[in-house]
């Protein structure tokens, strides 16, 4: 313990000034310009449960990404096999992540194996049964594809959220292909979730008008045709109002990956919004070829397996422009333009956990939290003065400083204050006086044994010190475990509890001792008000 009262007083005053500096931006509505040049301007962050917002835990369907990726690899294997003239009659994806080869004759087996070993080492041989040969993608490649899908999904989501305009979003990858997204202050939950979670795979496919979509049989569809629907939803209720079927050629001629820009435009006749697309040069060339080859046929524009429109190609389109129209509201068109610009997710996502707090509840929680803090504080303060008189007053001073330090440490550490966090602070108020109770009870005991006030103070503080440390460190252990395992708001409880414990050690021991010593220095203590 430092002996000099003056030095200790300087330390305490310095920490108080420092705490006030860190707390000022949170307290004063806005900080003056010059402040930011010298001092920190960070405010205490409010958790989603206090300011309102969305917490989403999503899982990327990596199996689908794997399937799509294997499909692409299968196609390129097939193309090269054809060039190499290796006699294989069929190359298809079997179970996800496997390729099935059917040999034209048994002699083709050896060249096929050598070819795959040389050119596609990521494929491992699984089994050969007569003319059927199975290959599986290697574990390492599988992991690479899954990680890529996850990274791409995060990147795309970040892009979309940035364009949507959310202040301080948090996007994090977690174990098991999960992504955590937190959007503070977002009010329209459904819109935000749609924007983040929509796969947004845009495809162009030709319509086959030879069949009646209502009557076509599975046999007629075969492997190359499919039926997709144009669904119209009620903008109010989101319920499907009508469903119109189309027979489409399964092969997608082009996807959204060539989109350079997407913007909302309004139809000059009815003022209806639509999304106009601009392709990059590669896409423009491709689109030119597609339209040139299929003039007078209908080209369906499909987003996530929903047909949006299927206009007739009147003439070859070489400008690299297209449009997606449907029955959009202006908001929907705006969001669609964002997702098309930001690109498609590599695989669909599932929502595992969603927590949304509306702004009105957040405000109520802040108010309730604040009121219970004030009332709890007053109860303790009154009790301490009644029970310990002037010494209780000293403990109360420590309590006030403790609150000040907790808040300023939260601002300094950029910690997030949540409702359970406020509960943690309230709880700390009750527990922080414990150190003083321990010390005061000890001093009373010592005085009872006939010690002088001065000696009683010394031995009271001295003997209580280790006890206080032991007792608080164990509580800290529980708080740290809670921080490790807690999620979201609960973490906030662990934070304020830990901060409160540490800061209470300083205020309840160091600061109160200083006050007693300062008093003792001026007036020799005859009697202790305790």
């Amino acid at each position: 313990m430092i002996k000099s009262v003056k030095l200790r007083l300087a330390i305490v005053l310095a920490t108080i000034v420092l705490a006030l500096i860190y707390l000022f931006p949170t307290m004063g509505g806005s900080v003056p310009d010059w402040w930011g040049k010298i001092f920190p301007t960070e405010k205490i962050h409010l958790g989603l449960d206090l300011q309102g917002g969305i917490h989403l835990l999503m899982e990327v369907d990596v199996e689908k990404a794997m399937h799509a990726s294997t499909d692409r690899m299968t196609a390129s294997v097939q193309r090269i096999l054809l060039e190499e003239k290796i006699k294989v009659s069929e190359v298809t994806q079997g179970e996800t992540g496997t390729i099935k080869f059917i040999l034209e004759d048994a002699n083709a087996l050896e060249p096929l194996q050598t070819f795959l070993e040389e050119r596609f080492p990521i494929w491992n041989h699984m089994s050969t049964q007569g003319s059927l040969v199975l290959y599986r993608v290697s574990e390492k490649e599988k992991q690479r594809i899954e990680k890529l899908a996850l990274d791409q999904a995060v990147e795309t989501m970040r892009n979309r959220i940035d364009q949507f305009g959310v202040a301080e979003p948090e996007i994090r990858v977690q174990a098991n292909n999960r992504i955590l997204v937190q959007l503070p202050g977002v009010k329209d939950t459904r819109r935000a979730i749609n924007l983040i979670g929509k796969t947004a795979l845009l495809e162009f496919k030709l319509v086959n008008d030879q069949f009646d979509p209502a009557k076509i049989s599975a046999a007629e569809l075969g492997d190359n045709l499919e039926v997709l629907y144009e669904q119209t939803r009620d903008p109010e209720t989101n319920a499907i109002v009508s469903k119109r079927p189309y027979v489409l050629e399964k092969k997608s001629l082009m996807t959204g990956e060539y989109i350079a820009n997407a913007n909302v435009r309004f139809n000059s006749q009815f003022g209806e919004p639509y999304v106009s697309l601009e392709f990059n040069s590669q896409g423009a060339k491709l689109f030119d070829q597609i339209t040139a080859a299929s003039v007078k046929r209908r080209l369906a524009i499909i987003l996530d397996n929903n047909v949006y429109s299927a206009p007739v190609i009147q003439e070859r389109i070489s400008g690299g422009q297209a449009q997606v129209s449907g029955r959009f509201t202006a908001k929907e068109a705006h969001d669609l333009a964002i997702v098309l610009r930001a690109g498609a997710l590599p695989a669909p996502i599932r929502i595992l956990e969603q927590r949304t707090v509306g702004p009105s509840l957040g405000r109520d929680s802040i108010r309730n939290g604040f009121i219970s803090m004030v009332v709890g504080f007053l109860l303790v303060v009154v009790f301490m003065v009644v029970y310990y008189r002037l010494s209780g007053l000293v403990a109360n001073l420590a309590l006030v400083l403790n609150l000040l330090f907790i808040m300023s440490i939260l601002a300094l550490a950029q910690a997030t204050l949540t409702l359970p966090g406020i509960a943690g602070i309230v709880l700390t108020i009750g527990m922080a006086v414990d150190a003083n109770v321990l010390i005061f009870e000890r001093i009373r005991e010592e005085l009872h044994f006939g010690k002088t006030p001065r000696a009683g103070l010394d031995s009271g503080y001295g003997k209580a010190f280790l006890t206080i440390m032991d007792a608080n460190i164990t509580t800290l252990i529980a708080a740290i475990v809670l921080y490790q395992y807690g999620t979201g708001p609960i973490k906030g409880f662990a934070v304020t509890l830990s901060v409160g414990i540490i800061s209470s050690l300083y205020t309840a021991i160091f600061v109160t001792r200083l006050v007693f010593d300062m008093v003792a220095e001026r007036h020799p203590l005859k009697k202790l008000s305790i």
Binding site: K198, L352, S365, V380, E441, H448, T474
Partner: protein
């Protein structure tokens, strides 16, 4: 002012330890029995999975008409609970199922409420959806958290004191957790993430009390010389008694403030803490130290 003068106290806590252990054992058994009768804890959606919507209506609405509005939705079993007090137009709708699609059950619930009561009268204040997988994860993590906290404490107390003290502390903590959980089972109160956090806080808090007593025992053992261990323990409990009770008192004071004024989310958390702090105080006095005595190696 002084309630208890620690220098004059001499209650024979240790002599009556069998009685208190019996009382605790009965309390724990009642908790276990209610767990069995109720078929486990009433897990909230955090742990069981499901969907919860907190909705406030602009005008008075009967819970029956809310139930009617929801009738068409496939959502498994549902509970509709009306908030008490001035927020009388506020309801908590909990349903068993959850959907992982972009349009969740909460959206469906909002749609039918908007349809039946008018969108301008419906304020969706909070939505929580936890899928079954995440619920299972959270349950497992929660168990682990308590286990790790106990192990960490066991190590710390062993290092600072002795193993038998650490074991006494752990028995007391397990006692507190079991009784608090038992109270939740008995009252069929919902067990959610904040309650788990409360349990961990209780563990920390109750230990705090126990350590103070242990510390005194250690101190008295150094000075005591020949004094009998049982007497030392008894004296130590008496000496720290006023502090133990005072600190619990201030803590319970603030918890009551949280319980009454903290609002819905904090209400049950504060309840768990109040139960836990009181049980923790009891166990620090009547359980933790007596267990250390029971583990005292028998001398000839």
């Amino acid at each position: 002012m002084q309630f208890l003068n620690s220098n004059k106290m001499s209650v024979d806590f240790i002599g009556k330890r069998r009685l208190f252990m019996m009382i605790s054992a009965i309390a724990i058994l009642i908790g276990i029995a209610s767990l069995v009768v109720r078929g486990g804890l009433n897990y909230g959606i955090d742990f069981a999975g499901g969907t919860m919507v907190q909705v406030r209506f602009a005008k008075a609405v009967k819970s029956d008409s809310v139930r009617q509005a929801l009738a068409g939705i496939d959502m498994g079993s549902a509970s509709i609970q009306q908030f008490e007090g001035d927020a009388a137009h506020e309801f908590l709708i909990r349903v068993e199922k959850s959907k992982s699609g972009l349009v969740g059950l909460s959206d469906e619930i909002k749609m039918v409420l908007d349809r039946d009561f008018g969108a301008e009268n419906v304020d969706i204040r909070r939505v929580e959806m936890v899928g079954p997988k995440v619920g299972k994860d959270l349950r497992r993590q929660g168990m682990l958290a308590i286990l790790y906290a106990l192990i960490g404490i066991l190590i710390y107390v062993t290092v600072r004191f002795e193993l038998r003290f650490a074991l006494g502390a752990i028995v007391a903590l397990a006692h507190d957790v079991m009784i608090t959980v038992g109270v939740f089972a008995l009252l069929d109160k919902e067990f959610s993430l904040p309650i788990l956090a409360a349990l961990l806080a209780i563990v920390g808090y109750s230990l705090n009390d126990t350590i103070v007593v242990y510390d005194r025992i250690r101190e008295n053992m150094k000075g005591g010389g020949k004094a009998n261990f049982v007497n030392i323990v008894n004296t130590s409990i008496n000496q720290t008694l006023s502090r133990t009770i005072l600190t619990s008192l201030t803590t319970v004071l603030v918890l009551i403030s949280l319980f009454v004024l903290g609002g819905g989310v904090i209400h049950d958390f504060a309840f768990a803490m109040i139960v836990g702090v009181m049980v923790g105080t009891y166990s620090s006095i009547f359980i933790a130290s007596p267990v250390v005595i029971s583990m005292q190696p028998k001398k000839k």
